[in-house]
């Protein structure tokens, strides 16, 4: 154990730089994912008949193994972070859009009708009634997306996107157990911390909704 700690502190930058890269990939991915999912969801609410097809399409994308998706995209978008982000955003769409749409569809129709009957505009109903009431499901979708992005982003190292995956793959290639264990711990800790933080946020917003 002592040897591990010694290696880790001596080569701290070998663990912290990839962590920073990882956080950056995850952060960028989530920003784009949420923005895109919001746009797609609003479009689906306006055109409910497209809902089934689009959700099925997104779930099909979600089912493709990440390595395969990276492989397919490399000839098109090349190696590097942008390809990784593209793939991660594509995966997240299913988790986010499904939860947003299901959440909003689940809002009591009589509540929406009351809002409409009082002269609230569609945009205002979405903002002040539908989204707040769908928030528990939307937050759950967000949490799933964050956890899955943190995990799948490790594989992005195979296409030179950097991140914690580089620590793991380096460790495997050189049979360096310090790196393997260290990288694994970092991934696990990151996921656990993110999960806990999002659960807290989730219960904070949910408490306001479900009284």
């Amino acid at each position: 154990m002592g040897a591990y700690l010694e290696f880790w502190s001596e080569h701290a930058e070998k663990f912290l730089d990839p962590l920073a890269e990882h956080l950056q990939i995850v952060g960028v991915t989530l920003l784009i994912s949420v923005a895109l999912a919001a746009v797609v969801s609003v479009a689906l609410l306006r055109h409910p008949r497209a809902k089934g097809v689009v959700l099925q399409l997104l779930s099909a994308v979600y089912a493709i193994p990440s390595l395969a998706l990276f492989a397919v995209l490399i000839p098109v978008t090349g190696l590097g972070e942008s390809t990784a982000v593209l793939v991660l955003v594509a995966y997240n769409q299913y988790l986010l859009v499904r939860n947003i749409v299901t959440g909003i569809d689940g809002v009591d129709p009589s509540v929406v009708e009351a809002a409409r009957g009082m002269g609230m505009s569609d945009a205002r109903i979405l903002r002040e009634v539908q989204v707040p009431l769908a928030l528990p499901l939307i937050m759950a979708g967000l949490r799933l997306a964050v956890i899955s992005t943190i995990g799948i982003a490790t594989i992005a190292a195979t296409i030179n996107a950097g991140g914690l995956g580089t620590v793991l793959f380096d460790g495997l290639r050189t049979l360096n157990s310090y790196k393997i264990v260290g990288g694994t711990l970092e991934c696990a800790l990151l996921a656990i911390v993110a999960n806990a933080a999002l659960r807290l946020l989730e219960s904070a917003v949910t408490r306001r909704v479900v009284r």
Binding site: D108, S110, E113, G117, M118, G119, V129, R211
Partner: protein, 259 residues
């Protein structure tokens, strides 16, 4: 400012329905009238009042509010000036009672103090102590209390036309009578035009200046309570009267007439 409502040959058939929910309905509600709409379940009462604020668009015919064809109006603006109590109450579960009541004033961008004062006034009006209830959430209220909040919410911006869809359905007889009396007072004080849907013939006869009896999407009779009781126009109206008869004598008493 009192407000008249006119239906001209209005027909609505929902997709896939065997018969129309509204079948060539023509009638005129004068400004300041309190019209109760009575009929069996599924006869088109809700559909009729939803046509007024355009939650339902008729297939044919014209509806005019204050002489203006509603189909030419902007739906949101139209609705902001028509009070609406929906049959299923439909309170916002994530907002407090106070915030619920403040909905339309907020949409109309009233200032904070004015909204606050109005909310307190309305809650008191429907017999809910503002200090106790304004901060509660709908799930912390009984069914009857929720309906009273729904009524307060519809009255918030002091609309000259009120559409009420079985607003007192979940309220016990004693509170119901108190609210009916309150509504009558509001009506007499303001001369609002009210369209009030109910299943209950006694309620319809007690509240209405005129009663609209409907069956299968058609108007059976549209007349004063006195005329309806003394000269029922169709067999349907007669059977409806019989169904409410044992309580009728106490509910419908001519002004100045003893029992």
């Amino acid at each position: 400012m009192p407000c008249e409502v006119e239906f001209e040959d209005v027909t609505k058939r929902f997709p896939g329905a065997a018969r129309p929910a509204l079948d060539h309905v023509s009638l005129k509600v004068e400004a300041g009238e309190f019209v109760t709409v009575l009929g069996t379940s599924g006869c088109g009462k809700t559909t009729m009042i939803k046509c007024v604020n355009r939650l339902v668009e008729p297939d044919s015919g014209t509806i005019r509010v204050e002489g203006e064809d509603v189909s030419a109006a902007d739906p949101a603006r139209l609705r902001q000036h028509i009070g609406y109590v929906i049959q299923k109450v439909g309170l916002f579960p994530h907002m407090t009672v106070g915030e619920n009541v403040a909905t339309v004033p907020r949409v109309l961008k009233w200032d904070k103090e004015r909204i606050q004062a109005r909310v307190d006034e309305l809650l008191a009006l429907v017999n809910l102590d503002p200090k106790e209830f304004a901060g509660r959430y709908p799930s912390q209220l009984s069914g009857g209390q929720q309906q009273r909040v729904g009524l307060a919410r519809a009255l918030a911006a002091d609309p000259s036309l009120l559409l009420m869809d079985e607003p007192f359905g979940a309220i016990d007889a004693i509170n119901r009578e108190a609210l009916q009396d309150e509504l009558l007072r509001i009506h007499q004080g303001s001369r609002k035009t009210i369209l009030f849907v109910t299943h209950d013939i006694n309620e319809a006869l007690k509240l209405g200046t005129r009663v609209l009896v409907m069956d299968a999407g058609r108007v059976q009779q549209f007349d004063t309570p006195k005329e309806i009781c003394e000269h029922p126009a169709t067999d349907f109206v007669r059977s409806l009267l019989r169904s409410g008869e044992f309580r009728l004598r106490s509910a419908y008493v001519e002004p100045g007439e003893g029992i």
